[in-house]
Symmetry: C2
Subunit: 318 residues, 2 copies
Amino acid sequence: MVDLAETLVDMVDAADWAMFSKNGGDATAQSVLIARAATGRRKIVKIKEGYHGVAAWMQEDRPGTTPADTEHVLEIPWNDLEAFQALIDQHPNDIACFISSAYEHSLFRDNVLPADGYWEGIEALCRKHGIVLIIDEVRTGFRINLRGANVEYGFTPDLICFGKAIANGFPLAALVGSDSMKDAAKEVYFTGTQFFNAAPMAAARATLLELQKIDGAQMMTDYGNSLNKGLVAVAASHGYDFIASGVPAMPYYRIEASSLKLHSAWVDHCVSRGLYLLAVHNNFVSTAHSEKDLKKILEIADDAFNALGSPSSQALAG
Amino acid sequence: MVDLAETLVDMVDAADWAMFSKNGGDATAQSVLIARAATGRRKIVKIKEGYHGVAAWMQEDRPGTTPADTEHVLEIPWNDLEAFQALIDQHPNDIACFISSAYEHSLFRDNVLPADGYWEGIEALCRKHGIVLIIDEVRTGFRINLRGANVEYGFTPDLICFGKAIANGFPLAALVGSDSMKDAAKEVYFTGTQFFNAAPMAAARATLLELQKIDGAQMMTDYGNSLNKGLVAVAASHGYDFIASGVPAMPYYRIEASSLKLHSAWVDHCVSRGLYLLAVHNNFVSTAHSEKDLKKILEIADDAFNALGSPSSQALAG
């Protein structure tokens, strides 16, 4: 555990300490407890439809939740500094934290990168008003930048939540933070029987050291760029505009000017041919993906467009 | 996953279905969502100081929580049917669930078994008032009765939460329930990236089948009884009254008529001699404990009492 914490602190710019749990949602729940403990404030600001796990405070209006669960959760649209400023004005000295992924990767729509100056603006507002800045890197962790997505986007968060691929499939999540959050992190009560299993921690350490050795984030970015370019070209050869949004290591795909139904039909054709893509969620590139895989993916994609038929036949069918 | 669910449904009387997560606290959080979804009610009734994980609704007044987190959490003393009836009267048609461990195993004090008629009374009140009955077997699971602690205590819960030892050290938790809860269980949103790892599920299935084969609960109960008897005898030979409370497979130990400080000092003497006991929490017996271990435990306990000195020397020191 200490070895892994040291690896994270060495690797991640914003990390002065690390704590461990099992799922990304554990790390986000813990981050909010820490932010509230550090500030003595109640309100959480998040991005509209931003996903941070299944704790009741994240499940607005879902079955089994009560209005009290989300009483102190506020939302703003992505890339909207004015909306953040407005909430700060409406709730003076009561916003404990701003929690967000590094860019918008919601379901069912194009993912959106941060606008120029957005993260700088968010950071400035957080600093000015004593708001804890939390980045949820559960999906993006070690895919954009091994030192933290914030390094890529030019800002410094107080807390970063990691999960998913951190231990290459073994169950682990990590919360890392700055020295300024350390006292609050010590103060909050957050534990679980399974948080401290040794095998996932050993797996995480081996994974992180290997990612550093091979520059995994760069590998996945390069591969994602090739994959996106290839799929756009294959689609174009069938008369379709293919959109790849988000970061290259985690592309969200959509066929332009078509319904989700048509895109899902194309994805179904891919899946039935052995290419597992997602219609509603971003896909994930891995360092295990090879040039051979790329060739195979583009062949299957091509064959799936054949099965789908031309845009004009689709327009007639629609 | 399906194999493990079938094993649980075969093994646990009250289980018609099973869902999986990582920590006991996941299962308890999920159980409460299901109870609220099933009833459309808000209030949770739990036992005073009963522990069900680190979700904010369980953390009254702890750093980082807000009053809204526990707004709908009500508490009653253990073994107190009248207090439950009083809450039902105060909150007509607004109590979604009663959640409790099978017996009281709080920290820092003797554990308390259910009084005669207690669980029958709780079940009757739950049925009469449409309250979902949830048993938290995260600690007791498969230690009291392989078919569920409720079978031992003569009642039928709607939901049972399992965790900790279910997969013999691999991270896994399970929520099982009755058919009447199935629709609500389907309706609630509860998921996590790591909930569905295959290895912990295979480990859990192997563990449960082995526990059935060897009647693990009976083995641990028999061993716990021998252990308790032996420790009481060793303590008596040094002039101490030694109390073992709770179920034999999970004994809470205390030196009678002494401060926690003295008990902790004795435990420290044990730990420094290679016997890992807990001063504030129940201990756990395992099917791996042997007769040889028992002999060794009693030798160390004896030696630790020697190091502690006699009750009269303690009284002088105190």
